[in-house]
């Protein structure tokens, strides 16, 4: 949560200083007129960390699947598990701020539509994968883990696609 907050604040200032054309205001300049920017900053700041955590979690579990050393394998899976849970927790503020930003629009049109097409399955998949990992913990079989990995990599692809279309909304030419 601390790192999420830190990431949000950092990105707010990076956007303000390096992309002033986006018309985002710094915290000191915020006024009710620019209230929408709070959500833009929150959404921008809260999305990147879960995306990164999801990707690295899938890679970590994938490595855990292929390495032969028991100790190393367990460490990769523990790292993957922690990152998955942290990523899923991080998705909650990202989804909430995104919904407020989109004025509670769950579909939309153009880039927003495609963003949502990928966001909703990703959200469900992340929650599902986290629940499965929490329930199963160490009592998983190798085929079970393989199926989990297929879905984890699918979630990684979906979250990347959602991120791509999110970027298109903000910076795309259309």
């Amino acid at each position: 949560m601390l790192s999420l907050g830190f990431s949000t604040v950092c990105q707010a200032f990076i956007i303000r200083d390096f992309a002033p054309g986006l018309r985002l205001a710094g915290f000191a300049e915020m006024t009710p007129l620019l209230a929408a920017n709070v959500w833009e900053i929150m959404h921008g700041g809260s999305t990147h960390l879960p995306i990164a955590l999801m990707l690295v979690s899938a890679v970590s579990d994938g490595l855990g699947y292929i390495v032969r050393t028991d100790r190393l394998r367990e460490r990769f899976h523990i790292a993957g598990f922690i990152m998955l849970i942290a990523g899923t927790l991080g998705v909650l503020p990202a989804v909430l701020s995104g919904l407020v930003l989109a004025r509670w629009e769950i579909g939309g049109s153009g880039a927003l539509f495609w963003h949502h097409i990928f966001v909703w399955p990703t959200f469900g998949l992340l929650v599902g994968l986290s629940v499965w990992r929490i329930i199963v913990r160490g009592r998983r079989s190798r085929p079970g883990l393989f199926i989990y990995l297929v879905f984890a990599f699918l979630a990684a692809v979906l979250v990347s696609a959602a991120g791509f279309w999110g970027g298109e909304i903000l910076l795309g030419s259309s």
């Binding site: 004025r103 509670w104 994968l129 499965w132 329930i135 199963v136």
Partner: protein, 128 residues
């Protein structure tokens, strides 16, 4: 076999949790969106006075002289934002014209009196 069954049961729980999370989020968003839309249309219906043509003409002249430089001649936005379909109250618009927006828009307190501001708001309300 026992582990496989256990994993399958966990998978069913996971599917249920995933569907529940997405379903409840989408449902809540749709409900809120519906209620926001209703509130907006109710507010608009109450606050939409019949704008007098003379007021709009005067407001358009004031807009061309004071605001079009930043908001574009047709008020679709340039350096400043698009002013079509504003959802802010008259009082809020008046406060913005009077006080400006720090770092974004100058104050028009000394330049535009109450009557001018009313005309300007009338013109802005006529923009659809």
């Amino acid at each position: 076999m026992k582990t496989a069954m256990f994993e399958l049961k966990a998978a069913l729980c996971a599917v249920f949790a995933g569907l529940l999370a997405v379903g409840s989020t989408l449902g809540a968003a749709m409900l809120i969106s519906q209620s926001v839309l209703q509130t907006r249309s109710a507010t608009k219906a109450n606050a939409d006075p019949v704008v007098q043509p003379a007021l709009v003409t005067a407001g358009a002249r004031l807009f061309a002289l004071n605001c079009s430089h930043c908001h574009a001649d047709d008020a679709t936005g340039d350096e400043g934002p698009d002013l079509h379909g504003l959802t802010k109250s008259d009082a809020r618009i008046k406060a913005i014209i009077t006080n400006g927006v720090k770092g974004e828009m100058p104050s028009f307190k000394k330049k535009l009196g109450d009557a001018d501001q009313a005309a300007l708001i009338g013109f802005l309300r006529s923009l659809r």
